[in-house]
Assembly symmetry: C2
Homo-oligomer: 393 residues x 2
């Protein structure tokens, strides 16, 4: 089997890694940030703009797409790539996280999760096998095993049992893909690829905030042999130190030659800290969600562009930023748009924020290549002024 | 004085005219459609997208910009062009229409209008002179005289008095520009132009639905000698025949060598009917407003993309349409976006609708040049299926 993940440089002063992950729809340079396309679109952004931003992979939310427009529609269009007209790599999550955070009346058994969706309250059931079947139909390049994501705080006993359930589910996901990968349609009806067998499948490490559970979960998931490994159950409301510790507890047990994905985080400093701890891939709603509220990310912290102080400000969101919003518009104009609830305002901040996150990853890759990543990280974190707890949720 | 409006072709079978209007920020081919940039942005669209759509002029709403962000802000940024980063021609309305349709507690006297704005209820007063001063500060290429736009239906006596008031106000607007045009800053602080004197000023014909009042108003306004003439008080809820008659009653009294602007309309067939009646310029919220509700314009009528019938439709909004939305996305996908309330959905329909309107004007210009406009108009109107009264409001 060909190797789809190649590490080119490993930092000497930290665990930071520079790699390339090859998928059926293109190569992803790691460390990589994945903009989130919840409902078949990265909010307010076109696929063309994503390409101009140099986004190399986006994330699709299985739960949302399953609820609306539904699998039949996406199958009819030949998979998510065709449906949304994005020809780059896509990672689909398992739907688990949203079932646990959005859906109602959940009932978890070893078999799977029964729930009512948050849109029309219709009952549905997702098992590890069904999560695979749905992701095969969506046709992403990377699928995620179904896991249970426990809340913070969580009792030790529940966290232990839940991590074991996640392991049993992970095994069933792998099993389903081994049996059905070649035959399951991968969406792209007109593509010559080998169906879902061409997709990668990542396992997810759980274990809440408990060091021994994180270690056990990592070992058990790694034993099953996935194409990559994710750290789940982080960025669920725990303090930042707990988040770092959870990753540090699991990381030593992850194989060097597989990509590692820290799920659902975080702020720019957190991403650099995670890279320093050996993580390669990230996804986070912050750049797009906060943009819609008027908040812009800069290398020295966030700006709330609704503030009156920006009303007469002729400078761009961030000096020397190469994004279209900064090259063409002032803070004062964007503030006016946000105050007047004009869509263009959130469009411009969204573009800037995505550029900011993607550019930070580009910078991190260069710094790792030059063996200067650790100095860069320290200087960046020290210079980042925002310490708003809202920022880490 | 140089001539800024040149008619190149006049249709032999109708009153349609093909012309060019030269402004300080560029040339406008007429018949022309002007997308509406209510609050300093054409809703959901960037200036770059407007240029790609070949929009040659946009409209800015004086009332909205006066209320928010306010004149001080726009002056600080050197005028509306600089503020919103649009370097093409801008027409600013007088603010009158919005004062009469949006503001509260209006009190009209010969001096002007006192009102409370609809955002924070602050009291303000606008006279013909103040309307000029504000438009000079906005720095548009075409300013409009302050008028009173009477509602439909309207009593004859009130319509007559109101049209006379509009004439008196029109005279004061001209007077103000003659006295202050050279000194009034035209926004663009760094521009070598001659201030507001470089802007054109259009007068507005009123007279409600009364043929004799329309004639009298047209004659009185034309006597004052403006750079162009608008027909106001149409598309205010009257039946389509009344709208046509109002324009037909005024048009014979407008000079051939000046541009004519039919304000605030309409559907695609209405625009062609207005062109056939000698009108050159149009503005309308329909393409952008209806887009936000999921309604797309095609050459054969409107489509409500929320309808279930489009869920599995792989065709574009309109076959052979050259807009980005039609070249890249399906009706089914756009329907999903609209149902899921994703901003990308209304962005795509807005682009398509603006393209549709602008392209219709381009087509009309070509047809006039080929002396085939009248056949084209008849065929288009006959083939246009939508007869929804909502469409003409």
């Amino acid at each position: 089997m060909h190797k789809n993940f190649v590490l080119s440089t490993t930092d000497r002063h930290s665990k930071a890694r520079r790699g390339q992950l090859t998928t059926a729809h293109g190569v992803i340079d790691t460390p990589a940030f994945m903009p989130i396309g919840t409902q078949g679109t990265v909010k307010a952004v076109t696929p063309r703009e994503l390409r101009e931003l140099d986004a190399q992979i986006i994330l699709g939310n299985t739960y949302h797409l399953f609820v609306r427009p539904g699998l039949d529609v996406i199958k009819h269009f030949g998979g998510l790539h065709n449906f949304m007209n994005w020809d780059g790599p896509i990672l689909t999550d398992s739907g688990g996280y949203q079932i646990f955070s959005l859906a109602k009346l959940r009932k978890i058994t070893d078999g799977g999760v029964e729930f009512q969706n948050h849109i029309d309250g219709a009952r549905a059931f997702i098992s590890p096998e069904i999560a695979m079947e749905i992701q095969a139909a969506l046709g992403g390049d990377i699928a995620m095993a179904l896991d249970e994501c426990v809340p913070y705080p969580c009792e030790y006993d529940y966290a232990a049992q839940s991590a074991e359930l996640t392991t049993r589910w992970a095994k069933r996901c792998l099993e389903w893909k081994r049996r059905n990968g070649e035959t399951a349609k991968r969406g792209l009806a007109d593509s010559p690829d080998r169906g879902f067998a061409d997709s990668m499948l990542f396992g997810i490490v759980q274990g809440a905030t408990f060091e021994d559970l994180r270690k056990q979960s990592a070992q058990a998931i790694v034993d099953l042999d996935f194409d990559g490994y994710a750290i789940g159950g982080v960025s669920v409301g725990e303090p930042e130190e707990e988040m770092m510790r959870a990753v540090e507890s699991a990381e030593p047990f992850l194989p060097r030659d597989k990509p590692r994905y820290a799920m659902g985080l975080g702020t720019p400093p957190q991403l650099l800290e995670m890279i320093a701890r050996g993580m390669d891939m990230f996804d986070c709603v912050l750049p797009t969600r906060l943009a819609r509220n008027g908040t812009a990310f800069t290398t020295t912290g966030t700006l709330n562009l609704k503030n009156a102080q920006f009303a007469l400000d002729k400078s761009p969101i961030e000096e020397n930023c190469a994004c279209d919003a900064c090259r063409e518009f002032s803070r004062g104009y964007i503030r006016h748009l946000i105050k007047a609830e004009e869509i263009l305002g959130l469009r411009l901040i969204t573009l800037h924020n995505l550029h900011s996150y993607l550019n930070l990853m580009k910078r991190a890759r260069t710094e790792i290549e030059s063996s200067t990543f650790d100095q860069f990280r320290k200087a960046f974190v020290a210079g980042y002024k925002t310490r708003d707890p809202m920022m880490v949720e």
